[in-house]
Subunit: 305 residues, 2 copies
């Protein structure tokens, strides 16, 4: 794989998660926003990862990234421990509680975007400190489309930097509660339009199992989630969604109302696969045919005569 | 209007509501499941109402029903007070608390279905005691399609009768929490399929602002809600949805996967109008053209390329 043809650059966290759901507990499994996003994107395009792990990062995890042909030139390996997160999901999996967050090598991370990534036409700034997102963005030459995700924490502790991110990206992704928290507006249509005022051409409001809504100044695209019989672990769903989206958009090559919608459906479907297993396990054996079949099924079940 | 051509018979409550939202308080406004359902259905077909009010029922409310050409031969007027309900919505309108419920004339109601309604091809058993729903159903000759709604209360106090209703209808409508409560199953796909086991060919799970999902044994139809900039009063949304649905289905005349989907979209749109004002106020000046325009807009914003 020639890195000169990198389609998507992703920066975000790579970590080891310990997760407790009502029926299972898994320790030190591969997680992090960049892990999910890169793997999901890799089904559609050539992805490079910008992030950091410690010297304890398991070789099996690196092997997994390689399995998906993810370019790892942007993945720093630093002396110390890899980022760790642990959390427990409530009985119905609608809410989760963070038990611990250990930044470890992320504490002193300064992302250095490899020369080969700097011309990447599509960029996804996955959830990570907005200062790091900005630092990455500064190193990308002239991206065609930049999407950014964030989380509640940054709204609380780095609002100004987050606002700078919002002003510089083409698409901001936020979940319902983050959009309400950031804007102080409960109604999602109003909140999204307030976010659009800050600069991005597109705001995507994610509603978890209830789907998502894409807003631009003139349009909405309302996308329900793919209904699942069983959700094993919702961790990373938003990252898989975003990764599938940016990967498919890069594959389309141009940004139009149609390619955006098609790419969002891809992200939606990747997220639906992702939550059917822990970590990236569902993706490991997933084939493009299964993705296409679920996309077809989804189109059929949302088709209005 | 000749009553011999009645398309839809609806039984349910008619009452006077006192409602407090974060910004408004309205006293003794027209409400009740049958009121919303009949008015919404009346945009698409000829509707007859089965219910009861007291001698205090305001003439203006009867005038409103007449304005929508709703057949009122099935509306009993009994000595005593009309049903009353009062509730208060929480700050974000996601939850409400019932402050009082006064059955009044509903306490001794025994619905008598007028001879002219007994051949109605489409029937909606709006939220009311399942024993009364069964009593109405017994009086309908050979309906083509019967839909029933219910509420948490009946799951608690009249589960056996509710099960009989479920066994006898073509479509059961429940909101998320009711479906979970009745089945004891959290996952909505599994809960819906368990409900299908009880007999109805269709189960509609209503998710409020997040839309709804229609289940049959072989199919799903996933329908997001129409995103609104402002919700004034969510009371009656499910009833307007059901009424718009059954009215549009009756207008189509036959029950196919296509007519069901089209009718659900109509219900969805009627509900979206209904919550933009208190009581039935939004419907008063609503014209068919506005409904058609919003349906077109909805199709556009959900269209997958």
């Amino acid at each position: 794989m020639s890195t000169s043809r990198l389609d998507v650059a992703v920066v975000g966290s790579i970590g080891l998660d310990t997760i407790e759901t009502p029926h299972h507990r898994r320790e030190e499994i591969l997680g992090g926003s960049a892990s999910f996003a890169c793997v999901a994107a890799s089904f559609f395009s050539r992805v490079g990862m910008v992030g950091i792990v410690g010297t304890d990062f398991p070789a099996a995890c690196t092997d997994l990234f390689n399995h998906f042909s993810i370019d790892l030139k942007g993945l720093q390996v630093a002396e110390g421990m890899t980022f760790r997160w642990s959390g427990v999901y409530e009985a119905n999996m609608d809410n989760r509680e963070t038990l611990s967050t250990d930044l470890n090598v992320f504490a002193d991370f300064l992302p250095d975007v490899p020369a080969e990534y700097r011309g990447a036409p599509f960029v996804f700034l996955a959830n990570i400190s907005p200062d790091l997102q900005l630092h990455v963005l500064d190193q990308i030459e002239s991206p065609r489309f930049v999407a950014a995700d964030t989380m509640d924490l940054w709204i609380n502790v780095a609002r100004d930097s987050l606002q700078s991110v919002i002003q510089r990206v083409d698409m901001l992704m936020m979940n319902e509660s983050e959009a309400r928290h950031y804007t102080g507006v409960h109604n999602l249509v109003q909140a999204a339009h307030q976010l659009l005022e800050d600069g991005p051409a597109y705001v995507l409001i994610k509603k978890g199992e209830h789907g998502s809504i894409l807003f631009s100044k003139d349009e909405m695209f309302v996308l329900p989630a793919f209904p699942l019989r069983e959700v094993t672990d919702p961790t990373g769903a938003g990252d898989s969604f975003a990764g599938g989206f940016i990967g498919a958009l890069a594959d389309a090559g141009e940004v139009t109302p149609e390619t955006l919608r098609t790419a969002l459906v891809c992200g939606n479907i990747l997220a639906s696969f992702g939550v059917e297993a822990f970590s990236l396990e569902k993706f490991h054996l997933l084939e493009r045919l299964q993705i296409d079949e679920r996309i077809s099924a989804f189109k059929e079940m949302t088709q209005i005569p």
